[in-house]
């Protein structure tokens, strides 16, 4: 479980996050949605400590993460996995080396055990026969899957995904969404996904938090969205004609 309490963040005196309170539940896929520039990436990076919050608390279970010292934060981070928007795989390492990296850095596993675990993770994300390829030699969707494999290599308690579907075709995007959802249940993780992909909201949004102009504007489940009368949320979610039609159809039944 992750809880943020009254967190605020400004850049050059411009407030980006304003007193946000949210509870992200364990074993569920928690989605942060919002328009570009609404502050959702800043919120995600504030939760994981890549941005220092101006005030408020970020709680991982009972631990106040943003008040920990550098050393304790480092320890805590070994329980986290993150999928970045562009994958953030190490260019100079092969697919297999990328997945083995956290194992090599933080465990005393033998070389063969590390390899076995890396292959297990790669197999779990359906990457086969690509171990010796470099990130530049595989597709964007594969890069995302390798990044997921690297993120789960140490059996993390927390998984963070920043726009996991950006730049992917709809079919691959669905595969990535399903993978995130399945792994969340399988590893009993607290997963936070930052997205503006409405398919993801409908597919995997156990809990959805809508950020509007740096404030938490709405929260609920994906089913609640259809019943919500929140104007900004509706404008955002049902912006396209297709989604508007789906909403109209759903309201007829």
């Amino acid at each position: 479980m992750i809880e943020v309490k009254n967190i605020s963040k400004s850049f050059n005196d411009i407030p980006v996050l304003k007193n946000i309170n949210v509870l992200f539940e364990k074993g569920k896929t928690n989605l942060i949605i919002g328009q570009s520039g609404s502050g959702k990436t800043v919120l995600l990076k504030s939760i994981i400590g890549l941005h220092e919050v101006d005030n408020g608390k970020v709680m991982f279970g009972d631990t106040i993460f943003n008040e920990l010292n550098f050393k304790d934060k480092k320890k805590m981070r070994k329980q986290m996995g993150m999928l970045f928007q562009g994958g953030a795989l190490f260019d100079s390492a092969t697919v297999e080396e990328n997945v083995m990296y956290p194992l090599e850095m933080f465990t005393e596993m033998s070389s063969s055990d590390r390899k076995e675990r890396a292959n297990e993770c790669l197999k779990r994300v359906n990457i086969i026969n690509a171990n010796k390829l470099y990130p530049a030699e595989i597709s964007g969707g594969m890069q995302k899957r390798v990044a997921i494999a690297r993120a789960i290599a140490l059996n993390p308690k927390y998984l963070f995904c920043d726009e996991p579907n950006s730049g992917l075709d709809p079919q691959t995007a669905i595969l990535i969404d399903e993978l995130i959802k399945d792994l969340t249940v399988e590893y009993d993780m607290t997963t936070i996904v930052n997205t503006h992909d409405m398919n993801s909201v409908m597919e995997i949004g156990d809990k959805v938090v809508f950020i509007y102009k740096g404030e938490k504007w709405w929260e609920g489940s994906r089913d609640d969205i259809f019943d919500s009368e929140n104007k900004e949320l509706n404008n955002f979610i049902f912006a396209s004609k297709l989604s508007q039609k789906i909403k109209d159809l759903k309201s007829q039944f």
């Binding site: 981070r77 986290m80 993150m82 970045f84 953030a88």
Partner: protein
């Protein structure tokens, strides 16, 4: 104010770089890789530049000492002292600032803008130390070899040019490079080279590490790294010369 900000931030950055490594074995492996990438790969350029500079120094010295009162072995002596005192450390360092400085800044800068550094931080790795310490050790370990090689190749280039153009005989050149030889000049050059290498690697890494934006910004960081490394090399050249030779 910007200057003070960068100076303070640079020393904080060095503090992070010199903190305890997570796993010595991995750092050792990375250091070996960096020796190959930054050191061994620089041998060619240093050798080419040294041989030509040695040749030019010899020809120019001969041109400036055409007075029959001056013995020709002085050409060898002047070429040796120029190479030992200034060329093999300062000029080679300026060339390395362009080669390895831009390499380090662009590599680390690209890792920053593609979130690879964030990925390391999220894993709990001290990214500054992991990325920069092996490069610093590698360049510090390898720079004396480059400096010594530059001295030898430079003096060799001077001999080839001098003899082939016919301005000095082999005997006079060898006598000149042995005449009034001060071994401390080599120590002086090595101290300068080690200092310059540290400046190149740390300043370039600093600029790469604090890059932000996109590829254009990485290019800008890389340029800044080369320019600032070069300025600090020249500044420290004056300081060290005063401290070590006066």
């Amino acid at each position: 104010m910007q200057l003070f900000y960068h100076v303070g931030n640079y020393f904080l950055f060095l503090g992070k770089v010199f903190s305890k490594p997570e796993k010595i074995k991995i750092y050792y492996r990375e250091t070996i890789k960096e020796i190959d990438k930054l050191g061994i790969n620089s041998i060619g350029i240093v050798a080419i530049i040294s041989v030509f500079m040695g040749a030019v120094i010899t020809i120019q010295t001969a041109y400036n000492t055409e007075n029959p009162m001056l013995p020709t072995y002085l050409i060898g002596l002047a070429a040796r002292d120029s190479i030992l005192l200034e060329f093999s450390s300062t000029i080679v360092a300026l060339i390395l600032a362009g080669k390895i400085g831009s390499n380090i800044a662009s590599e680390i800068g690209t890792m920053r803008v593609t979130e690879q550094i964030d990925a390391l931080e999220i894993m709990g790795v001290n990214s500054a130390s992991y990325l920069v310490l092996p490069k610093l050790i590698a360049t510090l370990v390898f720079s004396p070899f480059l400096c010594l090689m530059s001295m030898i190749v430079g003096i060799f280039g001077g001999w080839v040019a001098g003899v082939s153009v016919g301005i000095i005989t082999t005997q006079d050149y060898i006598y000149g490079i042995q005449y009034a030889f001060v071994p401390y000049y080599i120590v002086y050059a090595l101290i300068k080279m080690a200092t310059f290498t540290f400046l190149i690697t740390s300043i370039s890494a600093y600029h790469g590490y604090y890059s932000y934006g996109g590829s254009l910004d990485v290019g800008k960081s890389s340029t800044k790294a080369v320019v600032r490394s070069s300025i600090f090399i020249l500044l420290f050249n004056v300081i060290l010369t005063q401290l070590l030779l006066s």
